[in-house]
Symmetry: C2
DNA sequence: TAGCGTTAGGTGGTCAGACCAGCTTGATTT
DNA sequence: AAATCAAGCTGGTCTGACCACCTAACGCTA
């Protein structure tokens, strides 16, 4: 039984969150209370909380308390990348994986996009559109939340490294039309062209 | 100037790693030394280290020290998953995402597999093969480490929920042959058949 | 009574020091 | 030379003490 206390605490905390039915925005018990309830030192509780905070899962507010956070706020990406993405192969894999997932997203969106989605995209097209916003829409229309999450993480990493991608407005317009016509071939061709130029 | 000490420490630590030219496997200064060098309490240093450990960036060994870890062991996606998969829709998405990534893996493997890979698969085929082992090989042959990691996480979750998948040995044999012939159509067809039955 | 300070208590942030547990190393013993 | 043991590192944990900050209840004034 040499497992680390802060890991146990994470497990317990997860259980507490489940049992109490806590969700994004809710306040979790204070450090001192957790320390008491879980029979652990406050420092151990804090070590557990720091991990969660670093991942953007919780948010601590001095003098107020600790709150569950909405996903997507992961500012950890920058730091993570800072520590991790130093190797060349990793960078290549990142770009490729992002493209692959974007292609999947397009495929899913092609068969699942509703009229509502299309109208929303048409709205977006009325003003200058950026790559991130467009694929955000794509993954949304693809109706797979997990895939959307994964893409968002990868995209954040990628942007942190390369900056934002910008494509001519016509790209998005053609995509829109092809999506409306459910013309998967055309969509794939358009995307392949973009990827080829980006490499 | 109310920024948190442990965040400062992360910055400083990164600087130290850079200046000392430390890389994966190397030992970083002890908690007490960092505490002294950075003029911070040891508990603050520990909070910073816990975050990095949780992300899999470092590894602590009691009695020995703290070491930088290889890229790839980072549990980012896994942890995200742990907290994401509370939602119901996510569980449905999990299966789909796994299939989608497996299909990508097959596509990549089809064009990138080497003779060595094929011979390795042939070896595996000499005895009963399970789904996990096969796709582990596939993602390996696909030569995208990041994608492999993502798949592994998804697969672990999936198995945890549904148990292991078992397919007739002929499935793997046909896949092997198709991969050898780089027959992408056949590969896709085989896989689509499996997915259809699994739904 | 309505509005405004004041204050007490709770909460996170940080530190210092103590002790335990496990590993390494080198001196000591056999 | 090999086996043994002890000292001194390292991480792991707990306690108690402050500080900075926020909130809410209280009591005062207008």
């Amino acid at each position: 039984m040499t497992s680390k206390v802060y890991m146990e605490i994470l497990q317990q905390l997860y259980r507490i969150i489940e049992e109490d039915g806590l969700s994004a925005g809710d306040k979790i018990p204070s450090e001192r209370e957790l320390s008491e309830r879980l029979k652990a030192g406050r420092s151990s509780v804090r070590e557990a909380l720091r991990s969660l905070e670093f991942l953007g899962i919780i948010e601590t507010r001095r003098g107020e308390g600790t709150y569950l956070k909405e996903f997507g706020e992961h500012q950890l990406i920058g730091l993570l990348g800072m520590f991790i993405l130093q190797e060349k192969k990793a960078k290549e894999d990142l770009a490729e994986t992002k493209w692959l997932i974007e292609e999947i997203g397009l495929t899913l969106a092609c068969e699942r996009r509703t009229e509502v989605h299309l109208r929303e995209l048409q709205m977006l097209l009325k003003q200058p559109l950026d790559y991130e916003t467009f694929f955000h829409w794509v993954l949304k229309a693809g109706n797979n939340y997990l895939l959307e999450r994964i893409w968002r993480v990868l995209n954040d990493f990628y942007q942190w490294q390369h900056g934002t991608i910008s494509l001519p407005h016509s790209f998005y317009e053609q995509m829109h039309q092809s999506l409306e016509e459910s013309d998967l071939e055309k969509i794939r061709a358009l995307f392949a062209e973009h990827v080829k130029h980006s490499r």
